[in-house]
């Protein structure tokens, strides 16, 4: 297997990334718009992907647009938003079958780019405004989507943990927006949001698949021509203030299983040299089935079916998740904190560190077997403004030592514990 090469080209107003690979039977085009994460624009930006998928000038309804995609051997279009660090990112993803597996005369790539051009530049408008009936309908859909987070207890608890932990920081902003802000949206101000996304966001375009670099560049330039001045750059997060002790927040609902979530501050992000240390730390602490959390919370004390951790690469948070019996709160919390203390004291072996590094590398390599996974890894580099080839990443992980993990553990701090428990078991 050849190493993945990313060919970068600065085009007029955006960065093009071409990634030739023969791994997949499809090609993927990913277009990413980046702006600062903030409450003022969050709801408008969250609504935009819904409205853009409801049709274009030439394909004036969702059904007409999707029918066209179906004809192109079921090209898969998806527009959504996400927060990465303190950035709000709108992604347009389209994957389509590689022509060489089809008896196809015309170029699928050309047709698809034509369609993407429509979606981006020729939305279905009413003068200088999105159609109000479409906007009103999609506001309802977004309202329901925001409401429905309450019914997914894991996502809900995670959202509440971040609300409490990051109060006053841009990161607290909900990526899907706020019900209270929906009323203010209309076709006109949403169109302004769209124009600002198109003209001012940091823009990156990825094309990945069995492609020829020169040809692809030409065809992308033909369809995606902008006259724009990028205004936004990825936000650099501020280090958090020292805190004396962690906070505990408890909420009761009618549920069977309690959700115990914990947030740690690491002050480490993808741009930092100890980012790889954080990756390995997470693996050993709660990322893998041989980790301290899985082995102790689940296997040794049988308190949970899942007990794991993950980190946010661009905000520097490490988050712990577990589903436990409501009455097991104190016991589970203490066991998790004990595991953290053990990490600080270095109560783990060099052998465990070596094994965790191997598995961390395996996990990263596995990501390179998924088209969208590859783009995700590459986009980290845009967000952090740090270039790394896959082998540099593997090397970085390999270099992590036990002492680095101990130092790292002693730098990070438990900030907030959020416990969603059942009514009647409230502490």
């Amino acid at each position: 297997m050849a190493e993945l090469m990313e060919h970068k080209e600065s085009l007029n107003g955006y960065q093009l990334h071409l990634v030739p690979t023969r791994k997949f039977k499809t090609n993927a085009l990913v277009i990413r718009f980046l702006a600062p994460l903030q409450r003022e624009t969050a709801t408008n930006r969250a609504l935009l992907p819904f409205v853009l998928q409801k049709g274009t000038k030439d394909y004036p309804s969702e059904r007409v647009l999707r029918t066209k995609l179906d004809e192109l051997y079921g090209a898969d279009l998806n527009i959504d938003c996400a927060k990465k660090g303190e950035n709000h990112i709108i992604s347009v993803r389209i994957t389509f079958v590689n022509e060489k597996f089809l008896n196809q005369e015309d170029s699928l790539m050309d047709e698809l780019l034509g369609l993407v051009q429509q979606i981006l530049f020729e939305p279905n408008l009413d003068g200088g405004s999105f159609k109000n009936e479409v906007v009103e309908k999609e506001k309802e859909t977004l309202r329901q989507k925001i409401e429905s987070i309450k019914d997914q207890k894991m996502s809900y608890t995670n959202m509440r943990l971040i609300d409490e932990m990051c109060k006053g920081e841009p990161y607290e902003t909900h990526v899907h927006g706020y019900i209270d802000d929906l009323d203010k949206i209309n076709g006109e101000n949403l169109y302004q949001t769209y124009l600002s996304m198109l003209n001012e966001d940091k823009l990156d375009v990825y094309l990945l698949g069995d492609i020829d670099v020169e040809e692809s560049k030409q065809v992308i330039e033909k369809y995606l021509t902008f006259d724009r001045t990028e205004k936004h750059q990825p936000t650099i997060v501020e280090n958090s203030k020292e805190k004396k002790d962690y906070e505990e927040v408890t909420e009761a609902q009618k549920i069977q299983q309690g959700k115990l979530h914990m947030g740690f501050r690491t002050n480490t992000t993808f741009k930092d040299s100890n980012y790889f240390t954080m990756q390995v730390f997470n693996g050993l602490f709660g990322g893998f089935p041989h980790s301290k959390l899985f082995v102790n919370v689940r296997e040794k004390h049988q308190l949970a079916y899942y007990a794991s951790s993950r980190f946010e690469s661009h905000k520097g948070l490490l988050l712990v998740f577990s589903g436990i019996a409501p009455e097991a709160y104190d016991k589970a919390k203490n066991i998790i904190i004990e595991q953290f203390e053990d990490m600080k004291k270095g109560n783990f072996t060099d052998k465990e560190v070596e094994e965790t590094k191997k598995l961390t590398i395996h996990q990263l390599k596995e990501t390179f077997d998924h088209p969208v996974g590859i783009v995700e890894v590459m986009y980290h580099q845009v967000l952090a403004n740090r270039s790394l080839t896959p082998s540099e990443m593997f090397e970085g992980i390999k270099k992590v030592k036990k002492e680095d993990l101990i130092t790292f553990a002693n730098q990070i701090q438990l900030d907030t514990i959020y416990f969603l428990t059942s009514e009647g078991d409230q502490k």
Partner: protein, 428 residues
């Protein structure tokens, strides 16, 4: 070792049946980083009543036992198997469905060693009273996690409306009460009956050399002795063709209602020859009407009956089969009525040549896309293998399908007595 060329994609599938009866399939994909191996037995949550190995009398085991057994395969006298795979740089997992239990790993190094570990850990059971008791707390938390998820409750609620007696209606993990009854002896009974190599398949795909891999697998299996293969007798209760109840409502502390309308398939259509076509046709019809390019989707959305979360799901097996469509809604009753009437009028639908061709094209794109994923390819392959079918024939089946054939399947597909609805609605 035999080879099958999958010409359209330039892939080659290697396969063999070993002396102990194990079917081995190898699909090299050397452009990928990793190798994915899955070892699967034709034993799932529905296999509850059977004659244990060497006995003549049928026995019925507690609900949730296949899934419980899957959990317990990971614990050995010398420690847990996660640690073993970790040492070898691999990740490991398992899952239990209605009809099978599958153990899998993925790794980017030590592939031969990991394949052997996969075979060894599934072929060396170690159950004690103590380890069985210990697992009950963990699985109880797994069950409670699902109990809080409205979509999971809706899924089993839906199956419950369709099936009167068939064990498919029982939650795969069982209940907190039913798993208390499970003993170490029950686990051995199920293990001995269903984990014989002749009831299993090994599928390996990814970055490896097929000859050496097959040799390695053979050597591993030749070292072990198994009793001669024995036929497995499973018993399933009689199940009426029509649904068990037309409608069911589950109340939960949630904020948004949900509604599904399901079709219980006509068992007379579930012949081996018909199943691949039925799978394709039902997927194509649901997609054509209820995906975002569909006329019915558009109508439901414009009328405000559906929200962002709206989808369909299809389960086609030889001794039970069903599908359903639905999602979040503000008007569950209205959505149910509308979906039922849409489905019922399908038999009179006129299909144009153009729409039929578009459906086929989209399906072909979907089938090609699936090959991107090693996991996906292996899983689809095993689903077909369990029905004694070859998944890679599906491209030809799709290509050969005529509009007449398609129409005749659609005409027989739905009848009113096989339709039902399940709701999950907020309490109070």
């Amino acid at each position: 070792m035999k080879v099958k060329n999958i010409e359209q994609f330039g892939e080659q599938l290697y396969y063999d049946t070993l002396d102990n009866g194990l079917d081995v399939f190898l699909l090299p994909r050397n452009e990928m980083e990793k190798t994915y191996g899955i070892f699967s037995t034709k034993y799932g949550s529905i296999d509850q009543t059977f004659t244990p190995l060497g006995k003549d009398e049928y026995t019925t085991v507690p609900d949730g036992i296949a899934h419980f057994l899957e959990h317990k395969m990971f614990e050995k006298e010398e420690g847990d198997i996660f640690q073993q795979f970790t040492k070898q740089g691999a990740s490991v997992n398992a899952y239990t469905s209605f009809t099978r239990t599958s153990y899998l790993f993925s790794s980017t190094e030590n592939v031969d060693e990991n394949v052997e570990t996969l075979l060894n850990f599934v072929q060396e059971p170690y159950f004690t009273e103590e380890t069985v008791e210990k697992e009950k707390g963990i699985i109880a938390q797994e069950i409670k996690m699902y109990d809080d998820q409205p979509d999971w409750r809706l899924f089993f609620g839906m199956i419950g409306t369709m099936y009167q007696n068939h064990p498919v209606k029982i939650d795969i993990a069982g209940t907190v009460d039913s798993i208390q009854k499970i003993t170490k002896d029950d686990l051995y009974t199920c293990y001995e009956t269903f984990y014989h190599p002749s009831n299993m398949i090994l599928f390996v795909t990814g970055n490896f050399e097929p000859e050496a891999m097959m040799k390695n697998i053979k050597q591993n299996q030749d070292k072990k002795t198994f009793r001669p293969a024995d036929e497995i007798n499973r018993k399933f209760p009689d199940e009426p063709t029509q649904v068990a109840e037309k409608e069911k409502e589950i109340r939960m502390p949630i904020s948004i209602s949900k509604c599904l309308v399901g079709i219980k398939e006509d068992p007379s259509q579930l012949t081996k020859e018909n199943i691949p076509k039925l799978k394709l046709v039902t997927q194509m019809v649901y997609d054509f009407l209820f995906s975002k390019s569909g006329a019915y989707y558009e109508e439901l959305y414009q009328e405000g009956l559906i929200e962002e979360q709206f989808d369909y799901e299809i389960h086609i097996e030889q001794n039970f089969s069903f599908s359903f469509v639905g999602g979040d809604t503000k008007s569950p009753k209205k959505l149910s009525d509308k979906l039922q009437s849409m489905l019922l009028k399908l038999k009179d639908e006129e299909w144009t040549e153009e729409s039929f061709e578009r459906m086929k094209r989209k399906k072909l794109g979907d089938l090609i896309r699936r090959l991107n994923s090693l996991e996906g390819t292996a899983n689809h392959f095993i689903d077909f293998y369990q029905l004694d079918l070859d998944y890679f024939d599906i491209y030809q089946t799709l290509d050969d399908m005529t509009k007449d054939e398609f129409e005749s399947i659609v005409k027989q597909w739905i009848s009113e007595d096989r339709l039902s609805t399940c709701y999950v609605v907020p309490e109070s």
